[in-house]
């Protein structure tokens, strides 16, 4: 029967590879795993290759990816006074994640150890900081400076980019989520009454159950869900500083609006309403969005249809007599036949054209939003120079916060709208409206008309 059959295959799967080395929870070095799984390891190392598509991969040299903030100048205006205005580049392959972090000029401003959560194989270090308890460890990490914790990491010999052990159980090889911030965020989401994200039907099940033990994707999640969760633990919006432990804003849901209301109801430095930074030119307390891939994808039709990150970014490939997952995690556009055509039986150029049409529309609207944002900032600055008080300008600041959050949610998201085309466009439409409204208020105030 089906179940028996699978169990047979489980033992089969384990016994199938020749186990040349024992793997344990402290084996962060992919090279050692590579001895048992040479094919996955070889692909994994490919992530060091330079790749580039119209919007994906990265421009610039191999030495250093292109500066986003130089290409899209409105970004520099938006992040004025924030580390991202110093240095903000194209992302690149997994192999670079630690180096690129160590080299970013954003570190010229003090950064926290939490940064390492998604840029290194940090679990053993977390466990040490937490005396065996990883979550406790994460709640210590933010108190360290980036430099100190990064040194600790290297000293312990775990100075690796995301490694096998971050997604796999070294004994059974099953997929698993290790990052405490992700686990806590889903725990809170599950126990709230927020709408269940499309990609996590297992939360619906859990809510129906006795709820004796808190929701845990590693226990309650289906295998197909895990094929996305492993990515979601890093490709997600977050806040990380030495003010509080690394936080994902998911307790009210994964939409742009529900994350915003989470941040708005969060306190920082005990008293103040949460904000990422005070905008240098206007003084508005604004939010910064970072790579909300997991969140935006969840609003799209693919997540709804049970299509996982790995389905497109790690498609199966034939290797001799068997199939393996392509561990060269990269843009699916570099691999359309495997990444898309098993489900979409259209010619490759037709599929590429569909993506381009979606991304082009999104890009147009994003540029339009950028222009509106800059106009708003100019107008507010003009009003300030004309002597309008911050108190009067408060409504304009609120609108800047709203507009910038929405614009950034799509700009920082890395699929140029593909993961959820209509939702991305809706969010940009709102961003444009708020930016123009903010501009109007500033103009009216400056002109001495009462802002209606």
């Amino acid at each position: 029967a089906f179940f028996l059959n699978i169990n047979d295959r489980k033992t089969e799967a384990r016994s199938q590879y020749v186990k040349l080395v024992e793997l344990t929870e402290t084996d962060t070095d992919p090279a050692k795993w590579g001895i048992n799984f040479p094919r996955q390891y070889d692909a994994y190392r490919q992530t060091a290759q330079k790749t580039s598509t119209r919007f994906g991969g990265h421009g610039g040299s191999e030495a250093l990816p292109a500066e986003k903030i130089e290409r899209d100048t409105w970004l520099k205006r938006a992040f004025a006074g924030y580390a991202f205005s110093i240095d903000y580049r194209d992302r690149r392959g997994h192999a670079y994640m630690l180096i690129d972090q160590e080299n970013t000029k954003r570190l010229t401003k003090p950064q926290t150890g939490s940064c390492l959560n998604c840029h290194s194989s940090i679990m053993p270090l977390y466990r040490e900081l937490g005396h065996g308890n990883a979550e406790a460890g994460m709640n210590e990490a933010y108190k360290y400076s980036y430099q100190d914790l990064n040194k600790k990491l290297h000293d312990m010999g775990h100075g690796h980019a995301v490694a096998c052990i971050d997604c796999h159980d070294p004994k059974t090889l099953s997929l698993r989520v290790t990052r405490p911030a992700f686990l806590k965020a889903l725990r809170d989401l599950a126990s709230s009454d927020a709408p269940v994200p499309a990609s996590l039907p297992s939360i619906v099940q859990w809510r129906k159950g006795p709820r004796t033990s808190p929701y845990d994707p590693n226990v309650d999640g289906s295998h197909q869900e895990m094929r996305s969760n492993v990515c979601g633990q890093c490709h997600a919006e977050y806040y990380c500083s030495n003010a509080m432990p690394l936080t994902f804003p998911w307790a009210k849901g994964l939409t742009v609006d529900s994350m915003e209301s989470f941040w708005n109801s969060t306190k920082i430095h005990d008293t103040a309403r949460f904000f990422d930074f005070k905008h240098k030119e206007t003084g508005a307390e604004v939010l910064k969005a970072q790579h909300p891939e997991f969140e935006l994808w969840n609003q799209g039709i693919h997540a709804r249809s049970g299509v996982a990150c790995a389905d497109c970014h790690m498609p199966y490939m034939r290797e001799g007599a068997s199939k393996i997952s392509d561990h060269w995690v990269r843009s699916p556009l570099l691999n359309i036949n495997r990444a898309c055509q098993s489900c979409h039986r259209f010619p490759e150029q037709e599929i590429a054209a569909r993506v381009d049409a979606i991304q082009e529309r999104n890009h147009q609207l994003l540029e339009r939003g950028g222009a509106a944002l800059v106009d708003m900032i100019d107008a507010i600055v003009a009003a300030k120079n004309a002597g309008i008080s911050d108190d009067k300008l408060k409504p304009a600041f609120e609108l800047q916060r709203k507009a910038q959050w929405r614009l950034d949610c799509i700009a920082a998201e890395n699929s140029m709208g593909f993961h959820a085309p209509q939702e991305a466009a809706r969010v940009l439409g709102e961003a444009i409206d708020y930016a123009r409204q903010g501009q109007l208020i500033a103009v009216e105030l400056k002109a001495g008309l009462s802002a209606k």
Binding site: A1, F2, S174, L175, S322
Partner: protein
Amino acid sequence: MFNKILTFIFHDKLAYAIALAIGIPLGIGTFTFFYAEGFSYSSSKPEVCANCHIMQPQYDSWRKSSHHAAATCVECHLPHDIIGKYFAKGMNGYHHSKAFTLQDFHEPIMIKPGNSKILQDNCVRCHGAMVHDLGAGFGPDIVQCVLCHKTAGHGDVFGIGGPQHLQKESR
């Protein structure tokens, strides 16, 4: 095996009860008998499935599918351990016959969870060697083959009156 019985009980308690009570009402009874027997000696003859005009579309599409030379209906849609086979035939036989007789089924016909499991089981039965890495031994809820290979048995699900020119292009 037992799990499969359970899945069927789960999906059609009524059918289960009736199937066990061998004194099945005659009309459906003979139909079921014909259905189940029909296959025990010609178990790999798709034509038998196509006996039912209602199965014609699947028959036609199967003949154009990548598997027409590789697998027959029963090889994908019936379990391959003896008891399971008969039990499933009994259930499907009863169910489909009833549905056909009463014409009360949902259209388009869609596979039911119980039969999806059998199907998945059969994909793996033939392709186990190729896919035994998949899921990294994760467990029972390994990815469903049809998520990506919906076309294996019947080609593209473009739907009746669907995009003709694309069906050509996509070959």
